[in-house]
């Protein structure tokens, strides 16, 4: 069965395409990309007035399965991904049990393949049980298909162990994703340390909790030649250190979330747990530095850190509520609002950071509309405005600081391997 996407404005930065183009899909793969394609008998999607882009790739998704299926399942997470235009997600290993051996990797892959909704790649743990003491069997995990390793949720605090991990990971040419947080400086904080934390009497987390760990990891990457990818950057100092390290050709890459680009600590207002994330939302100077870092290539890509939680956990006092928000379904709208509307990025630049670069870091064939590639496609209405209504999310996680906000640019549909979302 052939499928023709007709009349859309194709934005495919990997192929330097930015204009009206038709796309023909056959048996799930892209077979033709041309100004005007005539295909008898093909089902046609009229994409006029829409943007047609590669499906987005999320390097940082918490699917919660196995272990916390009350928060999210691979199925609900995959449906949320498609709604958000993501056709590939990388599942973080802080599940219960942690994804630290082949059996658990296989379990996630099997369930994702059974569903066939999106491509699910797995990020394995760096240490057994994410306990920070002993390295996992890297070869086994990469052989099972892991695209990277990370103890996300916490940092690898032990510098010696991180050094060995970076050295050993060189065998596989894959990155270690560091949740950059110096745990003693984090000190059980619950939000950014600053005027808002002082006003509310909440324990603060200084930006240095992150930048000190980023500095250490840059030094270790330089020492070992290993590849460190810094997750969810939040502070201006971290951005500047990565910028300098990249100038010295240190093997370091980095990501930023839509919410850190869009919001500051002010979003917490009066104890709004929907703005409780880790790393915390920081000050306006930090937000500006993150945007500049994303513009100049210091920060390689946008990742959602989609972290769904149940109502009963999130509707608690600020100290007890877990960190994290639902991010897959709002990512594009938030990025369009924060980056496209004020002309900080063009559409091709945004798609590069949502699709091309994360696919490159994950080492997977995705993020392009190459002929012969799987037809993973997002169709976007750039002129739409829509209101964030968490009760209509596909994700079980209904907590977002963007609830009720009007956002531009709606994902009309996403195709995974040529099949339309949810069908």
């Amino acid at each position: 069965m052939k499928l023709l996407i007709k009349g859309g404005h194709v934005v495919d930065p990997a192929n330097r395409r930015d204009g009206r183009t038709d796309i023909l899909i056959d048996r799930g793969k892209i077979v033709d990309v041309h100004a005007s394609i005539l295909a008898d008998g093909a089902k046609t999607i009229d994409a006029s007035g829409k943007l047609v882009t590669p499906g987005f790739v999320d390097l940082h998704t918490h699917l919660r399965e196995p272990g916390r299926e009350d928060k999210e399942t691979i199925e609900t997470g995959a449906r949320a991904a498609l709604r958000g235009g993501f056709t590939t997600v990388c599942a973080m290993p802080n599940t219960t049990p942690a994804i630290d051996q082949r059996g658990t990797v296989d379990l996630v892959h099997r369930e994702a393949e059974r569903l066939g909704l999106v491509t699910v790649k797995v990020v394995g743990a760096i240490t057994r049980g994410r306990a920070g003491n002993e390295l996992t069997d890297f070869a086994e995990l990469f052989d099972a298909g892991c695209v990277a390793l990370s103890d996300d949720g916490s940092a690898v605090a032990n510098g010696f162990l991180m050094r060995r991990a970076l050295e050993y990971a060189k065998l596989f040419g894959r990155p270690l994703i560091q949740h950059a947080e110096e745990p003693t400086l984090f000190a059980n904080g619950v939000m950014n340390e600053g005027l808002v934390s002082t006003t509310l009497g909440l324990r603060g987390i200084p930006g240095e909790s992150e930048s000190v760990m980023v500095a250490r990891d840059i030094a270790l990457a330089e020492l070992t030649g290993g590849w460190v990818h810094v997750a969810h950057l939040s502070s201006a100092k971290s951005v500047e250190m990565i910028r300098q390290a990249k100038r010295r050709d240190v093997r370091v890459t980095a990501e930023v979330t839509p919410h850190h680009l869009a919001l500051t600590e002010e979003a917490i207002g009066e104890f709004d747990t929907r703005a409780k994330v880790n790393p915390p939302l920081r000050a306006e100077e930090d937000r500006q530095a993150l945007i500049e870092g994303l513009r100049d290539g210091t920060i390689d890509c946008i990742a959602t850190d989609h972290a769904p939680h149940t109502d009963w956990e999130k509707e608690a006092d600020f100290d007890s509520a877990p960190f994290g928000i639902s991010g897959l379904e709002t990512a594009l709208g938030v990025c369009a609002h924060t980056l496209i509307a004020p002309k900080l990025l063009t559409w091709p630049q945004l798609i590069e950071r949502l699709a091309v670069n994360p696919a490159r870091i994950a080492g997977i064939e995705a993020g392009t509309l190459n002929i012969g590639a799987w037809a993973d496609v997002a169709i976007i209405d750039p002129n739409a405005t829509w209101t964030v209504e968490p009760k209509h999310f596909s994700s079980k996680g209904r907590h977002t600081p963007f609830a009720g906000r009007q956002l531009p640019a709606a994902v009309v549909t996403a195709l995974h391997h040529g099949a339309e979302a949810g069908r």
Binding site: E193, G201, F271, D317
Partner: protein, 326 residues
């Protein structure tokens, strides 16, 4: 009581009392004025008026505090309300029942006012969002303790005849103090100037920006004492030493403890205030705590009148029955 805002134009329109940060100077003055009219009830042989008869008040204390709980309990009883004390588990999440579960259960029993104390900042706000009952914050983490600050303001006004223009020095652990924050809002709104004093480890970032420019910070105790009309001492918790915020309580006393010798440089009519319980020999020496400048017990007495006023106002009684307050 004649206050700076002598025109008594403010009306209490709020369902809850969560903190002083969002009160207007007029609303604060209204509470103080109402408290003045209630104070004499405690001096009568029959210490009871029917102002809140038929109302049910719950002292919902997730963190123990005998002083504050007793003060609210007596205040409620003097207004003829029914009051129930509930000591709830510290972190109920770990026990499977959430704070909101507890509140929903209480609301199912049709209560009117919830007086909430919790070790975590923001819990009264969370409850107020979900409860139909009025919520009074009786201290939330390191955030606010509005009735304490109101009784402090009341006591200063009683002793000095004004709050506007007073120089108030708050000394000790500002970072973890709900009393300090509520007092910063309350004092600056009424036109007092606040000096915060303590070692840098106990002063939170950007605290000078609270209270519309009426706040300054010093790390030198002499500067905090000189020219101050009020010295408000805060309790230094032993945990602060364990967290390396002060090397030792002995060292704290050496640099920041109020001794009789240090008071020699104070104004002759300085007031010594402390929210209690006093850590004798640490932030305050015994001879100062019990000395002529100390108004610590007046604070306790006034606390009762202030809490009566707050219970009365949030219960909406002022909008109907005026018999007790006039």
């Amino acid at each position: 009581m004649a206050t700076e805002h002598a025109e008594q134009t403010a009306q209490w329109t709020k369902k809850d009392l969560l903190g002083l940060r969002h009160l207007t100077p007029e609303e604060i003055t209204l509470v103080l004025h109402t408290a003045a009219s209630f104070r004499d009830i405690s001096l009568r042989p029959i210490k009871k008026v029917p102002a809140l008869r038929g109302k049910t008040i719950v002292n919902l204390f997730f963190e123990p505090s005998t002083r504050t709980r007793t003060s609210f309990e007596l205040a409620a009883k003097r207004l003829s309300a029914d009051i129930v004390n509930i000591a709830a588990a510290g972190s109920s999440l770990s026990k499977g029942e959430t704070v909101l579960d507890t509140v929903r259960n209480l609301e199912a029993m049709k209560v009117d006012v919830l007086v909430v104390r919790h070790a975590a900042a923001g819990v009264p706000h969370l409850i107020a969002q979900h409860a139909a009952s009025s919520v009074i914050n009786a201290g939330d983490g390191a955030h606010e303790h509005p009735t304490q600050a109101l009784l402090d303001l009341f006591t200063m006004h009683e002793k000095k005849g004004r709050v506007t223009g007073l120089q108030v020095s708050i000394i000790g652990d500002i970072a973890h103090s709900r009393v300090a924050r509520s007092n910063i809002w309350g004092l600056t709104k009424l036109g007092a100037r606040v000096t915060l004093c303590g070692p840098p480890t106990l002063i939170p970032p950007h605290v000078e920006q609270l209270g519309q420019g009426g706040v300054r910070v010093t790390h030198q105790l002499e500067e905090a004492i000189r020219g101050a009309d009020v010295l408000m001492l805060l309790r230094i918790q032993h945990e602060r030493q364990e967290a390396q915020l002060v090397p030792s309580l002995r060292e704290f006393r050496l640099h920041y403890g109020i001794t009789r010798e240090r008071l020699a440089s104070a104004k002759p009519d300085v007031l010594i205030m402390h929210p209690g319980p006093v850590n004798r020999g640490v932030e305050l020496d015994s001879d100062v705590a019990d000395g002529p400048y100390s108004v610590i017990l007046d604070q306790v007495t006034n606390g009762l009148a202030v809490r009566m006023a707050v219970l009365y106002l949030v219960s909406g009684a002022s909008r109907g029955d005026h018999e007790a307050a006039d």
